[in-house]
């Protein structure tokens, strides 16, 4: 792996952000699996798609900036895109589940 060449001041926060992001995504997906109703289930994966994705994108910004030795922020594009598009899908799904006949 090429990740061993990252200097320590960037590797430690990036590692912490990766661990936190992975755990948040796991918890959100477990909630999607374990909760009992659709209206409860739609809340759970938003944790992974906002905070988990944000943590991993921040770690990616840190590592790529440390490897290139200049600020590399194009991962913000993915963050803006996910923040813009994930409520659209959630709202459409919620309205679909409200208007669809049960069963």
């Amino acid at each position: 792996m090429n990740a061993m060449n990252v200097p320590l001041w960037a590797a430690l926060p990036a590692a912490a952000l990766l661990v936190v992001g992975g755990l948040l995504t796991l918890v959100g997906s477990l909630g999607l699996l374990r909760l009992h109703d659709f209206h409860a289930r739609i809340h759970a994966p938003t944790m992974g798609s906002t905070l988990g994705a944000g943590c991993i994108l921040l770690a990616s910004i840190l590592v790529s900036s440390a490897l290139a030795q200049r600020p590399v922020v194009h991962e913000l594009l993915i963050a803006v895109f996910v923040v813009l598009t994930s409520p659209v899908t959630a709202m459409l799904l919620m309205r679909a589940s409200l208007y669809r006949p049960r069963g």
Partner: protein, 93 residues
């Protein structure tokens, strides 16, 4: 030479892979159609996170483009399916 970042990458890959497995189980056995679409939404977000984590691990910039494309096409697919569930057709005249 420090090994903290590769192990964090392995840990995050394992977590996000288990999350993808949970979403796949929900995709397979969701009782209603909107459960399956929600599981698909979670699945593409988790896949994007796997690609980003691999990009951190290998220190390459190519994975960013793949993650952006996954986010784009995943949003288009999930929104099209949610719109189909809502109205019965995707693009209305």
């Amino acid at each position: 030479m420090n090994y903290v970042l590769p192990w964090a990458v392995y840990f995050a890959l394992m977590c996000v892979s288990v999350a993808m497995g949970c979403a796949a189980i929900r995709l397979l056995r969701g009782p209603q159609a909107q459960d399956r679409v929600l599981a698909l939404d979670t699945l593409y977000i988790s896949g994007m996170l796997v690609v980003l984590t691999l990009g951190i691990g290998f220190g390459s910039g190519i994975y960013f483009d793949i993650a952006l494309l996954i986010a784009l096409f995943g949003f288009v697919g999930a929104t099209a399916m949610a719109k189909f569930l809502l109205r019965g057709e995707v693009i209305e005249p």
